[in-house]
Subunit: 197 residues, 2 copies
């Protein structure tokens, strides 16, 4: 039997989502041919994530320091909070390099049928931040789908009495797309949200 | 900046072939949500491969013991050697569970234009094995493409004087395929190689 270290690595890699046996084999032989340091960097990045990852006690993003580097940064505008569902959404928005405020990660979206009620999300923590810090604007960047909309709606109702500006990210056509192939809902939202030039 | 541990893991994963940023991000968040032990198993499988992998001094397959478990096994038939180009081919053939002989990994295929001449491959080591051990059959399982054919041809010429049976794996239609869509060369090889029932 060749059930050796290569086979073991292949088996381990197939645990990952979307990695079948063939891809795992290709990856394993690539790792085998990589410079040792590069391969070890991958291994230690995996270990680091498991050993050091925690939630920021302010915004609930994943971080290795508490508060996270965004909440802790003196250059970020603490008066604007962008509310997202998941830590991966923070990465997506950060990559635009256009937002200089802070975040609040709900760690999910409302879905009563699945048992995700408001108390399961970091909504109380958000109202606490809005109440106690001098927050001017809460940008709701939950997903533009049923759960995300419901969550945005719910948070709006909770925060409305607090006299804070609440905004929702824009709906419309994605850049580079084609009107011909846009779905009706997106297109009607794009028309509805038209702006004067 | 969120350039933290998650971003680092994403960057590390994009070093792998076929893993773009989006896939890397999906994998990273999956790893984050995995049981710690599973994630660490992946990390240590990577490290093991880099630290322990070496070539078997008999067959040149990748192994962590020398000789490898196949060359060392008392139940494998040492009189038949299956010659393949790469260690990954050994895994593929082992998976068929139909071959009980041993292997010889050439670590490549002849390609004079790329500077891969016979001395760059483990061909001398193969003739040495055939000469010194009691080998009855050498099965040439190099790839059915130009380089693999050339390599098989070359090895046949080298081994012919040694009075050993030399065979080539069969060409034909892959199981589950459709004659209608088979390419001409494969189909003509399949006709040529027909067997009486």
């Amino acid at each position: 039997m060749t059930q050796g270290i290569i086979e073991n690595l292949i088996t381990q890699l197939t645990k990952l989502p979307g990695i079948g046996r063939k891809t795992a084999q290709r990856l394993a032989f690539f790792i085998l041919s990589m410079p040792s340091d590069d391969a070890k960097d991958i291994a230690s990045a995996i270990i680091d994530v498991k050993e050091k990852a925690r939630f920021c006690s302010i915004c609930f993003n994943i971080t290795d320091t508490d508060p996270c580097s965004i909440c802790n940064s003196p250059t970020r505008d603490k008066s604007r909070i962008c509310v997202v569902e998941e830590p991966s959404n923070v990465i997506a928005i950060e990559r635009t390099k256009t937002f200089n405020g802070t975040y609040h990660v709900l760690l999910g979206a409302l879905s009563p049928l699945d048992g995700i009620t408001p108390d399961k999300l970091k909504i109380n923590e958000l109202s606490y931040r809005v109440k106690s810090d001098s927050v001017n604007e809460v940008i709701l960047a939950t997903n533009p789908n049923t759960k995300g909309e419901m969550t945005a709606q719910y948070i709006t109702e909770i925060l409305k009495p607090m006299n804070v500006k609440i905004t929702r990210i824009a709906y419309g056509l994605p850049i580079g797309s084609d009107i011909e192939f846009a779905d009706e809902v997106t297109l009607s939202k794009a028309l509805e949200g038209r702006r004067e030039l």
